[in-house]
Symmetry: C2
Subunit: 244 residues, 2 copies
């Protein structure tokens, strides 16, 4: 049951494996918020890892909001179970469903962000935004190690001058990319994607909130449509492309 030895390809750290196992445990047991989780000692024994390693996994899940650690009392499932279970996807089907929900979430939020960006952006923001513009035309720029070049949507959120909204979009995009590790969304018309970005940029720089919102909405609906089509017809000849 344990068998966490580094057999073959073990790209992930033991700690994260343990965290994933714990999430699966909660999932399979059908535990609900408030339910208790076995003690640290028994968990460490169950997963066949050291207490320190288990502890790191616990902290990680606690930071995410998945579990609660109460000194002297025990370990409990956190209030927001979703956040815990979404940590590791179950099946590609679920992943696709998640991807669609992610796009729908963006569809609900980003038009407002575009409008706010049009109202609040500074000259610096505009510079960053225009700088992120040509990037979306590049095929798949394999940038430096771990510095993903700021893409258009992130820059747009930054221009809205609201840290919270930026954080939200950032986390959504991150989550989306994570989903893409499982399912690759085929995006046929890359040039069209870029053109839409340009038109959004123009609307924002014109300080036109209404037009910015509408164009952003249309853009995301386009992406949603492409994703839905890709969902019905599995990956065919066209290579999987990453888009932002």
């Amino acid at each position: 049951m344990a068998a966490s030895s580094n057999m073959g390809l073990s790209r992930t750290s033991l700690t994260q494996q343990v965290a994933a196992q714990l999430v699966n445990y909660v999932r399979e047991k059908g535990l609900k918020p408030g339910d208790s989780i076995p003690t640290t000692r028994s968990l460490a024994a169950k997963f066949g890892v050291n207490s320190a390693t288990l502890r790191e996994a616990l902290r990680q899940l606690e930071a995410t909001g998945g579990i609660l650690l109460r000194h002297g009392s025990g370990i409990f499932v956190g209030p927001n179970l979703d956040r815990l279970l979404l940590a590791n996807p179950t099946s590609p089907a679920v992943s696709m469903e998640m991807a669609i929900q992610l796009i729908n979430a963006r569809l609900a939020i980003e038009p407002q962000i575009a409008a706010l960006a049009a109202l609040n952006y500074s000259t610096d923001d505009l510079a960053v935004l225009s700088e992120a513009l040509p990037v979306s035309r590049q095929p798949v720029t394999e940038g430096p190690r771990n510095l993903p070049s700021p893409n258009f949507h992130r820059a747009l959120a930054a221009a809205s001058r609201n840290v919270i909204l930026f954080e939200i979009i950032d986390s959504i995009l991150t989550a989306y990319r994570w989903e893409q590790h499982t399912i690759r969304v085929v995006f046929a018309d890359r040039e069209r994607d870029h053109q839409q970005h340009v038109s959004i940029f123009d609307a924002v720089s014109d300080r036109d909130p209404h037009r910015s919102a509408l164009l952003t909405e249309a853009h995301l609906k386009d992406i949603l449509g492409a994703t839905l089509k890709a969902a019905s017809s599995p990956s065919d000849t066209s290579p999987a492309l990453v888009r932002d």
Copy 2:
């Protein structure tokens, strides 16, 4: 410099104190994404804690997306510095600014969520929503241990049938309550708050997305206005109230 002994009231765990210290270190040093952070051993010595404790703090910050741990290479500041720095607020003034940004973020998102809820809710959702309705009238129900009674806005987000959006609202509300630990927002007209909730509920149950969005927007603008007024005039006679 270390001095992490449990003097007086130390409600937070040592691990979290260390995490906070590390964040402050990054802040004061003015480190930017990609910059390297001292080694685990030196950090443990610097903060005067054991390596295991430091490690838990690191995992915690890593899970939040604040830092990057690379085996054999080093520790680095993560791509999203904001997420790191927002972990612990600096001053009440900043906190107030953050509270306003939080409300503005809700203002950008929740109307759309209300519209989606009007379109997508099921009978179960409606039941939960109506159940959460009378709660907002209660003064400050000190519920059981750690099960915050589902409040109206959370239920509304759940009715939108989009897990991502629910997560977003949930995190915003959580963050907001966290901010309230520092600054207490005075909300004068509690009855009005409740009436607005009721009218939103009616619009949603009528499957009227447009009206739902408009009412939600008005409701949040009300809250924003009250918060802004409280920001200008510091806490006076009226007791601080918690609202949702």
